[in-house]
Subunit: 307 residues, 2 copies
């Protein structure tokens, strides 16, 4: 294989009680990437459409992730990458992760799959470090592995794919305002009350159990964030209103996607997810803030090869 074309999906990280550990992979929104072998060694980002991003390999998340991988495997060929961005930068649905994950997935395919999808996560994390300053797997893990993905820990990196019911759909609204990940990190309190932390891990336990047993009501009861949402929600215009509308429209739960500004809702069934989208859309028009809404089933596979 000399060239491969990929669908690199958007992802939702920080799923309420699963802050910093639980994410999921979307299916209807994602970038396209073409990864090609070249005779000349090294990595070149040859084309970027849809976003104003640096072409220099060392300043591009896809380039940096690819470099980390090639540095380890030292192939006797080079790589060219075309990136067609559809996920907006700064949206909170894993734009940089899609690029980083796509690059390493593509190279792995061109090399005959020396690594599993899980094993690719550590390379993709190098791209995330360029984008956000920290090597986190919150988005690259679901992008690569698909479905719901738990990052149990980093020492060593431990990625667990969580079985989930097929009837879960996500609704995502992206209010197009700028929220810096670094600023959203700064609003976090370094200390939390033990009482809140216990509630949080009780809910995470419930959420994981609900996913394994397709217990939608348990998923609903568990989708709360005691700790981070109260601090970050206020930076997202109309967050509480939108969350309330999502729940009133039948969503199982709603919260901040990643570090925002996107807001996600999870619903049982496409019809409910679309109703949530419809009602949110109606309410958000009043704000005057430009926004996009996506409805998607959970992408259980992760990155896909397309023709």
């Amino acid at each position: 294989m000399e060239q491969i074309k990929l669908f690199c999906p958007a992802t939702i990280a920080n799923l309420s009680c699963g802050f910093d550990v639980l994410g999921l992979c979307l299916d209807t929104i994602g970038d396209e990437m073409i990864v090609s072998k070249t005779a000349n060694k090294g990595i070149r980002i040859t084309k970027i459409t849809g976003a104003d991003l640096p072409l220099e390999t060392i300043n591009n998340v896809a380039g940096v992730a690819a470099m980390a991988m090639l540095d380890e495997i030292q192939p006797d060929f080079g790589i060219e990458i075309d990136i067609h961005k559809k996920i907006k930068a700064g949206s909170g649905i894993g734009s940089s992760a899609a690029s980083a994950a796509g690059a390493v997935f593509g190279i792995n395919e061109l090399m005959g799959k020396p690594f599993s999808r899980k094993e690719l996560v550590r390379f993709a994390m190098k791209g995330e470090a360029l984008a956000s300053g920290s090597e986190h797997a919150d988005n690259v893990a679901p992008a690569l592995v698909g479905g719901f993905t738990l990052v149990r820990g980093y020492d060593p990196l431990d990625i667990i794919k969580i079985d989930s019911p097929s009837e879960l759909f996500a609704t995502v609204i992206h209010p197009q305002i700028e929220l810096k990940t670094s600023e959203m990190r700064a609003v976090l309190e370094p200390l939390v009350s033990l009482k809140s932390a216990i509630k949080q891990w009780g809910n995470l336990g419930g959420l994981i159990a609900g996913l394994y047993t397709s217990d939608y009501d348990l998923i609903h009861r568990s989708l709360h964030d005691e700790i981070v949402e109260p601090l970050r929600g206020k930076f997202i215009p109309k967050f509480e209103l939108i969350k309330g509308i999502a729940l009133k429209s039948g969503a199982l739960g709603a919260g901040i996607s990643g570090s925002g500004p996107s807001i996600y809702a999870l619903s049982k069934g496409l019809e409910t997810a679309e109703k949530v989208a419809f009602e949110i859309n109606k309410a958000y028009l009043d704000t005057g803030i430009p926004f996009e809404i996506h409805v998607s089933k959970i992408n259980s596979e992760g990155i896909k090869i397309i023709n």
Copy 2:
């Protein structure tokens, strides 16, 4: 039915990363209780063997739990309870919970089961409040429901039974020293670092996933307590030594049972659980502290009716 004889099992609460939310039910150690209908209304504790506990209903955890239940259902008969304690008070394996759970389970059976096992938890919690000053479900939930039991939250009370693999066995050592639950609570810090809390809920997510998928290695990787064990472990003589021996002997994980002084280990297979018991026994003899060791499969059923 006029009389029922019960096996009321010991339980392990605060399972490492599942502090305050996750417990399990044991099978080889438990009290026996006989609960009988009487023509005279009211509740009488008629006999207690094996422990020096108050016979007065309002001062006895079984009595108080039974009162909470009868107060709600107002039956036209009374109840007599005989308690044969085998679980030592203050052991950290749910001695008071066994009595509270047994009383309400027995009454429920004599009444034709108006309540499910889960619904009985809230009555049994009233007994726990007498014993420890707080209405917690950590031990009464696994005693009543069996298996691994998650207390997702208290508002409203939400008990979830977690599927678990059949090959899990517990080893418990009870060093016979006195540790007051109230004192062990006082050593907890009201604030914890967000970083530790995230590690804890990552591990709890991993543990729940490991239980559902019978992934013993994941259970092993997840059985850590970042928050409470470092504070409480030092009050239990040779805690670190015993934990180390358990892990070296092949246990998947080990930690404090309840608020101590008992130490639990979980192993795959009876043979390993017995090896853990053997090695711990050998090491603990040197301390001069009296102790008991139990090996048990997980009791997936909870309280049992016996003849």
